[in-house]
């Protein structure tokens, strides 16, 4: 029998992988965005698992909304990447002095 903890651990693994991706892929904004998608995916999986194991349909409902949110996030993120590329000629954020006070 597959228990809830299996799904939770899997979700956490996905989440951690997303975090690692955000940390190490600073040279490529697109991959960062993909990592964020992974994180959202992990959250999505959590919603659905809890929905199943607590016999509550609202988890699926939230999962649905989360899909919409991640789609919006992807759209905005990609357009920002495009604008950033137009302005800087690169999609790496390894540039000094941009946020230095």
């Amino acid at each position: 029998m597959i228990e809830i903890t299996h799904f939770l651990v899997l979700a956490i693994i996905l989440f951690s992988l997303g975090v690692v991706g955000v940390i190490i892929n600073t040279h490529n904004l697109i991959v960062m965005l993909l990592s964020i998608e992974l994180i959202l995916l992990a959250a999505n999986l959590l919603f659905v698992s809890f929905s199943f194991f607590t016999q509550n349909v609202e988890g699926q409902m939230f999962s649905m909304f989360l899909l919409a949110i991640s789609a919006a996030e992807a759209a905005i993120g990609l357009s920002i990447i495009l604008a950033y590329f137009k302005a800087k000629g690169t999609i790496s954020i390894n540039q000094k002095d941009q946020m230095k006070g």
Partner: protein, 200 residues
């Protein structure tokens, strides 16, 4: 038994694909790996009695968002983007260390604090009707809100990208050489102010 085999297979596929997402060096492969990961998760959704969600996920992500990603990647490459930098091994090690310790912490919390026997033996079995009632009846305001968010996102994306003026001119940023080069005559004007009149 079959359930376990299916679960572990799908989990392995998902995790491997995710690793590919964050570690491969070509953006196109990254996006494709993400598609694979989504497939794996969609399979898990079927296991969790959420068939509609799994299918819509495949349609939305694999059909729309991933294509969108690929489209952007190709646009960038066609406009001269070259992948240059390597990730330093220090940063890699740090990231992996942080990620594993974070995952281990949360996983240990889950394993220690969440007891599977607290949950019902039987998993939930929902029809599509239940989901529809939940979305369109119980939480209809959330649905409206979601619509607004999507609308704003669409407008934002259009505003950010579809700008006629070259973006360099609209950016507000410091131009150090101009500041250094400007002369006193350009910046300061000496005015003789009559008492009680002020400057016109």
């Amino acid at each position: 038994m079959i359930e376990q085999i299916v679960f572990y297979t799908l989990a392995t596929i998902t995790v491997l694909a995710s690793i590919c997402v964050i570690s491969l060096n070509n953006p196109i492969y990254n996006v494709l790996s993400l598609v694979v990961a989504f497939f794996g998760v969609a399979g898990l959704y079927f296991m969790l009695n959420a068939q509609f969600l799994g299918l819509s996920m495949i349609i939305i992500y694999v059909g729309a968002v991933s294509v969108f990603f690929l489209f952007v990647v190709m646009t960038l490459e066609s406009s001269g983007y070259k992948h240059e930098e390597k990730i330093s091994w220090k940063k890699k090690a740090l990231g992996i260390f942080l990620g594993t310790s974070f995952g281990a912490e949360i996983a240990s919390i889950i394993l220690l604090k969440i007891n599977a026997s607290d949950f019902p033996k039987e998993g939930g079995s929902f029809t599509l009707k239940d989901l529809a009632l939940s979305i369109f009846h119980d939480h209809v305001y959330l649905l409206e809100l979601m619509g607004i968010i999507l609308l704003v996102a669409m407008l934002g994306a259009i505003l950010i990208t579809a700008n006629k003026i070259p973006i360099q001119q609209t950016l507000k940023k410091q131009k150090a050489h101009q500041q250094n080069e400007r002369s006193r005559e350009d910046s300061v004007k000496i005015v003789k102010v009559e008492f009680g009149k002020g400057i016109k």
